[in-house]
């Protein structure tokens, strides 16, 4: 069994290349490598720097171990949240599933192989966060080699528990949403429920396990001896054992903790495999089936529907339809626009005491004289919300092998690119709108300021839409066999997030000089209008040229 699983995992990894560098020019490749060679290490050094600072403080209280348990807990939570998306995409909506089902493989082999692949991908992200914490702690506390060995085991097993829990949740939901005739729709709803449920569960867990009165916490703090580590098990259950294993690496209790940590991870993984054997096939079979009505009243409907529309209007609407109807695109490009507000709102529902924090925050927000900074903050938020949806930064990639259609249509590339910008821009506006509504309802930002923000905050959305499309034109990922590769494993989304840092300089200036609202308004509007004009010009000249050159 093992061999087949490993073989399958290897094939799956080979099938999905990582960085999307194939086909791009040497210049692009070098540029990308330099960015990574600088960015990632500096990020890791940044974390190490902060950790060193924290360690100094915490050590004086005898609580230095908390760093490790926080590190593990936060990493596990990240793996869990992103794992939900990953698992839906790779276990269910990936096109290789249809290819794998007819093979003589046990369901648990398929799931195990896919699980392994996702775990390996997760190592890249967890390494960036975990490595600096681990090493810094080891060096600062002058730990023995045993510490590093324990740390390695903790690191390797870290994604297992959160990913297994995410997989179990998704598998159960998919089992029961595979019944309907309108599979795509129900499954997308299922995916949404899974995400809500997952996030909700996470918060409830924190609530139940981590709830303590301030007095109790004070007591723990004063006790020293890393007593605070216990608290973090509230964020993620395995965090405490992993941390204790590493802290007490030269004692028997450390070894026991390591055993519990490993045992728990393996147990949960076994439960996953057992469940997979039972229900995975029922959830995965018939993925591409769709409802069919065989409508006899076609003629009447035809008269209503066969109506002429404008080229750009129809093109944009079709782009949006495909985004909403393709489950992978819906989850990764559309849902994400609504996710940010949910991220913020869910804790409020599950943890009402947070209201106090919000109230304080709202008081800060309504202090006179900081309107300029609120505006600058709104610009940054809009920038990153809309960059993270990846709609324009994957809009050429999503065409894949069907790109040829866009080349024989008698529609100018200018118009086509405009429609692509529009689709990303419109959905980006949705997330910005939800942000503003959140600002009004929860943070009690005044209506006139909200209206003012609304009047200009579409500029950053337009900016990221333009940079996204330009990036994707220059580095499109067209050679994919499953939709998830077009969006999920598309590095262009990340590049576009990086591009969003450029205009954030304007906002930073507003913060640094505490500019007044009129000054901030003028500076930011001017900055973005200029940038957008420049990028628009670039798109309609170089971008169009690039589109003409693209061939599949």
């Amino acid at each position: 069994m093992k061999n087949k699983t490993l073989l399958l995992a290897r094939t799956l990894i080979k099938n999905g290349e990582g960085l999307n560098l194939k086909g791009s020019s040497t210049f692009t490749k070098i540029a990308i490598l330099i960015v990574f060679a600088i960015l990632i290490p500096s990020f890791m050094f940044g974390i190490a720097f902060v950790v060193t600072g924290l360690l100094t403080v915490l050590k004086s209280m005898g609580q230095e171990g908390v760093i490790l348990s926080w590190g593990i807990a936060i990493n596990s939570t990240i793996v869990f949240v992103f794992g939900i998306f990953y698992v839906i995409s790779t276990f269910y909506f990936s096109s290789d599933v249809e290819m794998l089902l007819p093979l003589p493989l046990k369901p648990r082999q398929i799931v195990a192989a896919k699980f392994l692949v996702v775990t390996i991908y997760e190592y890249f992200t967890t390494a960036i966060f975990f490595l600096p914490i681990w090493i810094t702690y080891g060096v600062y506390m002058k730990c023995s080699p045993m510490f590093y060995l324990y740390g390695l085991i903790v690191f390797l097993l870290l994604p297992v528990t959160p990913l297994s829990i995410a997989s179990v949740i998704i598998m159960i939901i998919m089992r029961f949403t595979n019944l309907s005739r309108y599979k795509d729709t129900v499954r997308m709803l299922g995916g949404m429920i899974g995400i809500f449920l997952g996030l909700g569960l996470n918060i409830v867990m924190q609530n139940v396990l981590g709830r303590m009165s301030p007095e109790e916490i004070m007591e723990l703090v004063q006790k020293g001896e890393n007593s605070l580590v216990v608290l973090t098990s509230g964020i993620f259950p395995t965090a405490r054992w992993g941390a204790e294993a590493m802290i007490y690496h030269n004692q028997l209790s450390g070894f026991m903790s390591l055993l519990i940590y490993a045992g728990f991870s393996i147990l949960i993984f076994m439960i996953l495999l057992w469940l997979a054997q039972l229900i995975y096939l029922k959830g995965a079979a018939g993925l591409s089936e769709t409802g069919s009505k065989r409508n006899k009243q076609g003629r009447k409907q035809l008269a209503e529907e066969a109506v002429r529309g404008s080229v750009i209007g129809t093109y944009t609407r079709t782009e949006l339809k495909l985004l909403f109807r393709t489950p992978i695109y819906f989850i990764n490009c559309v849902m994400i626009n609504f996710l940010w507000p949910i991220f913020i709102l869910l804790p409020l529902i599950f943890q009402p005491e947070e209201i106090n924090v919000i109230r304080e925050l709202s008081q800060v927000m309504n202090r006179p004289g900081i309107e300029g900074m609120i505006l600058a903050g709104a610009f940054i938020a809009a920038l990153f919300f809309s960059a993270s949806n990846g709609i324009t930064s994957t809009s050429i990639s999503r065409e894949g092998q069907e790109l040829f259609i866009k080349k024989y249509l008698p529609v100018s590339y200018r118009q086509q690119l405009t429609a692509k910008i529009l689709s990303g821009f419109l959905l980006g506006l949705v997330s910005v709108l939800s942000m503003i509504i959140f600002g009004i309802l929860v943070l009690k930002i005044s209506i006139w300021l909200s209206l003012l923000i609304l009047a200009v905050v579409w500029l950053p959305v337009l900016y990221t839409s333009l940079t996204g499309l330009l990036i994707d034109l220059y580095n499109p990922k067209l050679d994919w066999d499953s939709e998830q590769k077009a969006v999920k494993q598309n590095i262009n989304v990340l590049y576009n997030m990086l591009a969003a840092f450029v205009p954030a300089i304007g906002s930073a200036a507003v913060f640094i000089f505490s500019l007044s609202l009129p000054a901030a308004l003028i500076i930011l509007t001017l900055e973005y209008v200029l940038l957008c004009l420049l990028l628009g010009k670039l798109l309609f000249t170089k971008g169009v040229e690039r589109f003409i050159q693209l061939e599949v």
């Binding site: 591409s288 409508n295 109506v307 404008s310 495909l322 024989y408 008698p410 529609v411 061939e551």
Partner: protein, 242 residues
């Protein structure tokens, strides 16, 4: 009318898929494009449709250059690709409306044509379903209907019969004949030599990107100095190239 002059296309700098190819297909003609797998048929067709950019040479469609007057040239063409798997998440009717809007077809015209063509091809009842739920042949038919909506003078079809049922295939052949007889151009590739023999006014046989033979059936038989079938001549021609 389609005119290719010294057209070449190399993929990725190595595979020479179309090699200095010249070809003229006048109005009123059904032209069959034959050749073994990988001969360069699809590549040639994609070059004409404006999907690929030629490395050298010119392509005119009804006198319009596909590169210099791209939009005008593209409006002349109705192109059916070899794989009909596109826009699977759209409903049949949505796809047809999309194509009609892209080609600027008025409401009245599209209504009449969608109704007539889908009745012809027996697709009326499934227009409200997603293309994903269609069979291979049904997908081909919806693509075909979408192409015919704007009434293009030049038809370019890449293996259009594969997967069609006998009735639809017959219907398509009839439509091709009518279209050519009205003074338009039909250019299609096929592996079915019987079809080529019966339907085409002229055929070309291509291998390794070069045209081995181009002419009417009679010319071909003259060329080979025997009264044999297209099949045996095709085999002889392409074999001698080995």
């Amino acid at each position: 009318m389609i005119e290719l002059k010294n057209v070449s296309k190399t993929y990725g700098g190595t595979v020479k898929a179309v090699d200095n190819l010249s070809l003229t297909i006048p109005d009123g003609e059904i032209f069959g494009f034959l050749g073994p797998n990988g001969a360069g048929k699809t590549t040639t067709i994609k070059l004409i449709a404006g999907i690929l950019n030629a490395d050298s040479g010119t392509i005119l469609v009804n006198g319009r250059d596909i590169e210099k007057e791209a939009l005008e040239a593209k409006k002349q063409i109705g192109y059916v690709p070899d794989t009909p798997n596109m826009f699977l998440r759209l409903k049949g009717i949505e796809y047809l409306n999309f194509m009609a809007d892209m080609y600027d077809v008025s409401t009245e015209e599209r209504k009449e044509r969608i109704e007539r063509l889908s009745r012809h091809f027996g697709m009326t009842d499934v227009l409200q379903d997603r293309i994903q739920s269609y069979s291979h042949g049904m997908r081909q038919k919806i693509v075909l209907i979408g192409v015919l909506l704007h009434n293009p003078p030049v038809w370019i079809l890449d293996e259009p019969m594969t997967g069609l049922d006998p009735r639809s295939s017959f219907l398509l052949k009839e439509m091709m004949r009518e279209h050519a007889d009205r003074g338009n151009t039909v250019f299609f590739s096929t592996h079915v030599l019987d079809v080529a023999e019966k339907v085409c006014d002229r055929v070309a046989i291509i291998n390794k990107g070069q045209i081995l033979f181009c002419g009417t059936m009679e010319e071909m038989q003259e060329h080979f100095k025997k009264n044999s079938s297209l099949e045996s001549m095709f085999l002889e021609l392409t074999e001698s190239e080995e």
